[in-house]
């Protein structure tokens, strides 16, 4: 999959005639590519556009402009009907396992639904497949007659994963799949996702704000801030040699589970993320960047590099 100059603007409307007075630039000119079988992590703070990017890739949001090329087709411009056919290859797992399952449907019906909707199997075949998939994600097949409320958060997330797998997708967008879960359950779900990737040769886009989980699962990481990509590189590179000041600060802000390191030196950035309706001029991070110079306030830095891409006028030296 290749994403080119993806933009998603939400208009801000005011007054009785709903005049558009401005735009919230949720995703602003994002380009990257994803190779088969790899996991790309999207990280950033809330409001950085990571979820909107994920949703735009499967047309849950219609992008304002840009291209999303998947197996030679541009998902951003094809018709709804064509998109519907392609949905079998593109699935999404949502953050909240409590609200993403219909409470009035049995698990078996929930899981069989995608197969029947795409007319890919008869009812009997679908039932067979449901049994199999439940076992694949580590649940008993006897659960298929139960309702979602009978399950814990971790189990529901497994059901969400099972539902995404029903159609044998090629690419799964995982939108904060473990953020709502307890730590001991998080580890179970992360391991499951890793195992399934190997088994079915899946490609993941893993969206999260917890860097630990992202590091654990991703091959490459994209760091976003205010709708723009700040840095993109192999996981190891990002953690060992972060080059963008924002990445460095983000890594540094995570509390380390080691009390002997509590007195380490820490750069704490001041202030909040600016509103995406009025992003700062020039580099979007300049208002909080400790190294900001005049040029950062004027000129938007380009995303440069071959393997290790970075958008900064003054990248940190190795």
């Amino acid at each position: 999959m290749e994403v080119k100059n993806l933009k998603k603007y939400y208009p801000i409307k005011k007054g009785i005639i709903s005049k558009t007075v401005g735009y919230v630039k949720a995703v602003d000119d994002v380009s990257f590519s994803i190779y088969p079988g790899e996991t790309v992590g999207l990280v950033g703070e809330s409001g950085c556009g990571k979820s909107t990017t994920g949703r735009s890739l499967v047309r849950l949001e219609d992008p304002t402009s840009g291209q999303v090329i998947f197996e030679g087709k541009d998902l951003a411009s094809i018709s709804k009907k064509e998109m519907r056919e392609l949905r079998t290859d593109l699935q999404i797992i949502f953050q909240d396992p409590y609200s993403s399952l219909n409470p009035r449907k049995r698990i078996g019906d929930l899981l069989a639904e995608p197969l029947l909707a795409h007319k890919l199997a008869s009812k009997a075949e679908a039932a067979e497949k449901v049994n199999h998939i439940l076992e694949t994600v580590g649940l008993s097949k006897h659960y298929k007659n139960r309702y979602p409320h009978e399950f814990s958060g971790g189990q529901r997330q497994r059901i969400g994963i099972a539902r995404a797998l029903m159609l044998h997708p090629k690419l799964i967008i995982c939108d904060e799949p473990v953020s709502a879960l307890d730590v001991s359950i998080q580890a179970q779900v992360l391991n499951l996702l890793k195992d399934l990737q190997k088994e079915f040769n899946l490609t993941y886009i893993f969206i999260a704000h917890g860097l630990g989980a992202v590091k654990y699962i991703s091959d490459r990481i994209t760091v976003m801030y205010l709708g723009k990509i700040m840095e993109m590189a192999k996981t190891k590179e990002i953690f060992e040699h972060p080059m963008h000041p924002y990445t460095e600060i983000l890594l540094n802000a995570y509390p380390v589970p080691n009390p002997h390191m509590r007195d380490r030196e820490q750069i704490v950035v001041e202030g909040d993320v600016p509103s995406p309706a009025h992003p700062p001029k020039g580099c979007v991070f300049h208002t909080r960047c400790p190294f900001a110079k005049d040029i950062c306030r004027e000129k938007v830095p380009e995303l440069n590099g071959t393997d290790h891409l970075i958008a900064c006028h003054f990248p940190l030296s190795q």
Binding site: S46, D182, S184, A187, A253, P255, V268, V269
Partner: protein, 341 residues
């Protein structure tokens, strides 16, 4: 430093349609002036209910049925609501997880801040307002004079949490209960708030009960830690011992299951199988039994007690495994004695 708070074997129960439910069972810990204890555990382990029990903020169907909570020698469990109002906000105050919902949206920041100040400190309106501005400056809010007259919706999550902290600390409480104060915030904001709390703590000598599920936050903030599981404290010790030498199988499992950025690349996460038992159906013996890799026959039948480990009074654990260790320790001591004699 004197003992400030002593929580002794409290049991908190809720009346529900399905009968009495015990949500906190035999929780004990104590806290000295200026000390920080972290209550850690997963959702539903009773850490929040413990703090609400101390504050008398439980829902109507809940009550502390056993045990005692002593604050400076004063019993809080049977205290009347009128007496409790003098303690709450004055001697103990609390910060909640959701800075978005814990401020009243129709009152200005100033109104909400000065309410407690006027009530507990007897300041006039003008004095209270000046003091409120001073508190806002202290917690790092820019343009404090303007913000006092603003409504909460104008502030970001991090700023609201700062307002909550200003409010909580304005009456110089001896004890601050912070219930997941940074969970709803972004990491860079979390780092700001933790730094602020550390600074205020060293300045004011306030004791803190910090409730969190994030072991990273524990390592940053705690003096001592109580690990809770299914309504009970399963391990209690100082923060260094907990991270260097955790003993309880649940603590061990928890430590191994956090994906952290300092983990080596190819390390596979170990997960704790299964999930937390339901409050309606607590196991008879050890509550961690069906998820524990070291479970013995005895654990199914008998309830382990929270006991200090032999030579370290400050390290307590609720597990039979350690008793074996203790036995071995004693056997070894005995052997040594025999050799000596």
């Amino acid at each position: 430093m004197g003992e400030l708070l002593k929580v002794d074997k409290i049991k908190t129960e809720f009346k529900t349609d399905k009968g009495m439910v015990t949500s906190v069972d035999e929780v004990s810990f104590d806290l000295k002036e200026g000390e920080t204890i972290c209550l850690v555990g997963e959702s539903g382990c009773g850490k929040s209910v413990t703090s609400l029990s101390i504050m008398h903020l439980l829902d109507k169907n809940g009550s502390v049925t056993h045990g005692s909570i002593l604050l400076n020698g004063k019993e809080l469990v049977n205290m009347s609501e009128a007496e409790m109002r003098k303690v709450r906000g004055n001697e103990i105050s609390m910060i909640f997880q959701e800075p978005m919902t814990s401020l009243n949206p129709v009152l200005t920041i100033g109104d909400q801040l000065t309410e407690g100040i006027r009530l507990h400190m007897g300041y006039s309106k003008k004095e209270a307002r000046d003091y409120a501005v001073e508190m806002l400056k202290k917690v790092g809010i820019p343009r404090a004079e303007g913000i006092v007259d603003d409504y909460p919706h104008r502030l970001s999550g991090g700023m609201r949490q700062r307002v909550m902290i200003a409010m909580a600390l304005s009456c110089k409480p001896k004890l601050l209960i912070a219930d997941e104060p940074t969970t709803a915030l972004d990491v860079t904001i979390q780092a700001q708030i933790l730094k602020l709390m550390k600074g205020l703590r060293s300045e004011s000598k306030t004791a803190i009960i910090l409730i969190t599920h994030d072991l990273g936050v524990v390592a940053e903030m705690a003096d001592k830690v109580a690990v809770m599981y299914a309504g009970q404290v399963v391990e209690e010790t100082d923060v260094f011992t907990l991270f260097d030498n955790p003993k309880h199988p649940y603590t061990l499992g928890l430590m191994k299951s956090i994906p952290h950025i300092t983990n080596p690349d190819d390390m596979r996460l170990e997960s704790i199988p299964g999930s937390v038992p339901s409050v309606y159906n607590m196991p008879k013996g050890c509550r961690f039994y069906d998820r524990c890799p070291f479970a013995m026959k005895r654990c199914l039948e008998e309830k382990p007690e929270l006991r200090p480990i032999e030579d370290k009074k400050s390290h307590s654990i609720r597990c039979f495994l350690y008793e074996k260790e203790e036995r071995e320790f004693e056997e070894k001591k005995q052997d040594e004695k025999e050799v000596l004699s």
